[in-house]
């Protein structure tokens, strides 16, 4: 069955991984690409990064953090054996994989998932990969073992010091940038984190690639909901990106646009919670 959920694994208090049967996507998936998923006939189309895949098994792995109605519903009701209404992809342009030099891959929170296949591909291609993975606290970290394998060395940071170094990811990043020659940095995580990583790289004169996560509808270039400003030009993140040069991104615009539907999101979430409560009673 296409779109069938092969397995579900909790990765933290609000994060789960889903292995989904999607042979067409798995056959062509490349690091940096994403899919658009719809849970059911009334569902919204949401973009999720390809965190892993197996062309042989015809499966893809998605890591989802529960932040609103759709992701919460996915965590609560999408079980092994069930089916997603729609999975479309792989979408977006793949990461540009360098084959020499030293690179730094910075992952913030759920950003670990998209960074993992990029780091793995960079290492396989012959670059030296330094990983930095940060989260607010230890319980929000996941896939540390996978990252260790995908990177030559890995620095862990947490805001509260419950695991690794008590720091923001930008601290070890700045130290590495000062200490050695870095060919390029990848940073994927919350917009604010990417913004500060971009500032650190700009200061050090090192190119940085970030993955933008604006609100999307189709994910194929036909609506323009995902407009972002990069280098003073309007770009569609779903087809021109999602990866862009981090020092060129208008971050304030991205962050403002992510909040465009705050009221509606709250309304949808409250309604969903009420329905769950009523169903339980």
């Amino acid at each position: 069955m296409p779109n069938e959920i092969v397995s579900v694994e909790p990765l933290g208090p609000q994060t789960k991984s889903f292995v989904v049967r999607a042979p067409r996507v798995a056959a062509r998936a490349q690091p940096g690409q994403f899919v658009v998923v719809r849970l059911h006939a009334r569902g919204e189309r949401i973009p999720l990064t390809l965190a892993d895949w197996s062309a042989e098994d015809g499966t893809i792995t998605l890591v989802v953090q529960e932040v609103g109605k759709t992701t919460l519903e996915m965590g609560a009701s999408v079980d092994e054996g069930s089916e997603l209404a729609d999975v479309v992809g792989p979408l977006g342009e793949p990461s540009e994989i360098l084959s020499e030099g030293t690179v730094v891959c910075v992952a913030g929170g759920v950003g670990i998932a998209p960074v993992y296949p990029i780091a793995r591909a960079l290492k396989e291609a012959g670059t030296h990969v330094i990983g930095i993975a940060g989260a607010r606290s230890e319980d929000l970290l996941f896939w540390v073992d996978r990252l260790e394998e995908a990177c030559h060395s890995l620095v862990i940071t947490t805001d509260d010091g419950s695991a690794g170094r008590k720091a923001l990811v930008t601290e070890p990043l700045a130290e590495i940038l000062a200490a050695r020659k870095i060919a390029r940095v990848w940073a994927i995580g919350p917009a604010v984190m990417m913004k500060f990583c971009a500032q650190a790289c700009a200061k050090a004169g090192v190119p940085i690639t970030v993955s933008l996560n604006p609100i999307m509808v189709d994910g194929t270039g036909m609506c323009g909901a995902c407009r972002a400003e990069v280098g003073g030009r309007v770009r569609f993140a779903c087809v021109d990106g999602p990866e862009f040069a981090g020092d060129q991104v208008n971050w304030d615009l991205l962050i403002a646009r992510l909040a465009a539907y705050r009221e509606e999101e709250r309304c949808a979430l409250e309604r969903y919670r009420r329905m769950v409560r009523e169903a339980a009673a």
């Binding site: 479309v88 189709d218 609506c223 646009r257």
Partner: protein, 459 residues
């Protein structure tokens, strides 16, 4: 004595219809249809047939309506038009069949579109006969895109005995009929009914396949398809290229209409996708897309909707009926104005600044070019601005298909038979012509189906 005017079609009252998404024109009764059919002169020369891009036997089907043989009338139309329920509702008849109707010289032209719709709806209600496709030819054809072009090509090829698979990027078939044209003008039930007909004929559909991303045209050919038809449309929205277009509150018409139609945002929160419409809405453009966006905004609760068009009413490309309906519903039409800048507060749209225009000498398209009037700047307070200034072809399929030539406009180079620079690839519809009409896409797709049949027959 010929009745000088068309038998009127009942419509929802403008005051109540702006609060719902139900269809506006309510259709003819059998009596009304027969009365309108009686107005037709059944001209021997039938200029209307020549005016129809797919040459429907118009006097033929109208005679059958007059005699009350609606099933036969449906069969007559369907000989050349697979989607009459759609065409009867959205074709620009005034510039096609009805524009050249003999009656129109003295009176109102015959209501061909209304009769076509009546016949198609009658058949839908009374159950259409399914046609058994002829014995299998053993050839397989892949159709890219489930818009009017793709659906038409698929139906025709299936009726010639070929095995047909339609690959569609979105999660529902129909193309613009599904995501663009609103429910109150073309009920989605009508589109679904047409697609169901194709499924019953044995056409296979695979949704959520973005050709060029999920699979390429060349891979389809090596998977065993003897030919590929590209009907991927012109779905890339154009923006104005003026400052402020990334402010919150600015939508492309495609995004706005896709949220509302395909994602059913008009039923949020019952459906998960939201759409935001403020009290003051401006729509930029003058085509069907602009009218659809304006009328949709009214139905979503906007207090005032203003259409900003840079030429005059005469040059407006929208169907006459759409402009008329929009005006009836209270849409404010501002002609000879052009936005030059959008302003906002805290990243949220607050004003659109425009210049007044006047018409200068004609441009390449033969229409008089609008030129700005100096010092005519004025601004309009708006919460939402919808950009409906046209769509262009998506470069994905041409870019990922070796040797498929495109024009300087990004459209796929194809002749009248849909033949492209690659012998096994055919194309028709908006991907070839740029944004046009449902019927022109269908007409070209029919020709392509004939050419594909000949091509795979030779292989």
């Amino acid at each position: 004595m010929i009745r000088p005017e068309q038998v009127p079609m009942r419509e929802q009252d403008p005051r109540s219809r702006v609060h719902n998404f139900d269809e506006v024109p309510l259709g003819y009764s059998e009596m009304e249809a027969r009365e309108e059919a009686a107005r037709c002169l059944k001209c021997k020369t039938a200029p209307c047939v020549a005016g129809c891009p797919v040459q429907v036997d118009i006097p033929g089907f109208i005679s059958q309506v007059e005699q009350g043989d609606f099933r036969a009338a449906a069969a007559t139309i369907k000989r050349t038009n697979n989607l009459p329920a759609v065409c009867g509702r959205v074709c620009p008849q005034e510039t096609q069949c009805q524009g050249v109707c003999t009656l129109g010289r003295k009176f109102e032209p015959c209501g061909i579109g209304r009769l076509e719709r009546f016949v198609a709806d009658w058949e839908m209600e009374h159950g259409a006969r399914t046609h058994e496709p002829p014995p299998a030819t053993g050839s397989r054809v892949a159709v890219v895109g489930a818009g009017p072009a793709g659906l038409t090509c698929a139906a025709d090829l299936r009726m010639l005995g070929h095995e047909v698979t339609v690959l569609e990027a979105l999660h529902e078939p129909g193309g613009v009929l599904m995501y663009g044209i609103p429910e109150f003008r073309l009920p989605k039930e009508v589109v679904n009914h047409e697609v169901e007909g194709l499924r019953r004929m044995g056409v296979a559909f695979e949704m959520n396949v973005v050709v060029g991303k999920s699979i390429t045209v060349d891979e389809l050919l090596s998977e065993g398809y003897g030919a590929v038809f590209v009907g991927s449309g012109a779905g890339l929205p154009r923006f104005l290229g003026i400052p402020g277009e990334t402010l919150i509150g600015v939508y492309s018409a495609n995004e706005f209409l896709t949220r509302v139609n395909l994602m059913r945002a008009w039923r949020f929160p019952e459906y998960d996708t939201p759409v935001k419409v403020g009290r003051q809405v401006a729509v930029v453009g003058g085509g069907n897309v602009a009218m659809d966006a304006a009328r949709t905004a009214l139905r979503l609760g906007a207090e005032k909707v203003t259409v900003l068009y840079r030429r005059t009413r005469q040059e407006m490309p929208a169907r006459v009926e759409e402009t008329h309906h929009a005006e009836e519903e209270g849409v404010d039409m501002q002609y000879l104005v052009n936005p030059v800048r959008l302003e906002g507060r805290d990243g949220i749209l607050s004003d659109v600044v425009c210049l007044r225009m006047e018409l200068g000498p004609p441009d390449d398209s033969g229409r008089r070019r609008p030129v700005p009037i100096e010092d005519s700047e004025f601004s309009l307070a708006v919460d939402t601005l919808i950009v409906a200034v046209g769509n262009q072809p998506h470069p994905l399929v041409p870019r990922t298909t070796r040797g498929l030539e495109v024009t300087k406009w990004g459209t796929v180079q194809a002749d009248e038979q849909g033949a492209t620079s690659r012998p096994e690839i055919f194309a028709a519809g908006d991907i070839v012509t740029g944004a046009a009409t449902v019927i022109s896409a269908m007409g070209a797709a029919k020709q392509a189906a004939v050419a594909i049949d000949a091509y795979v027959g030779k292989q």
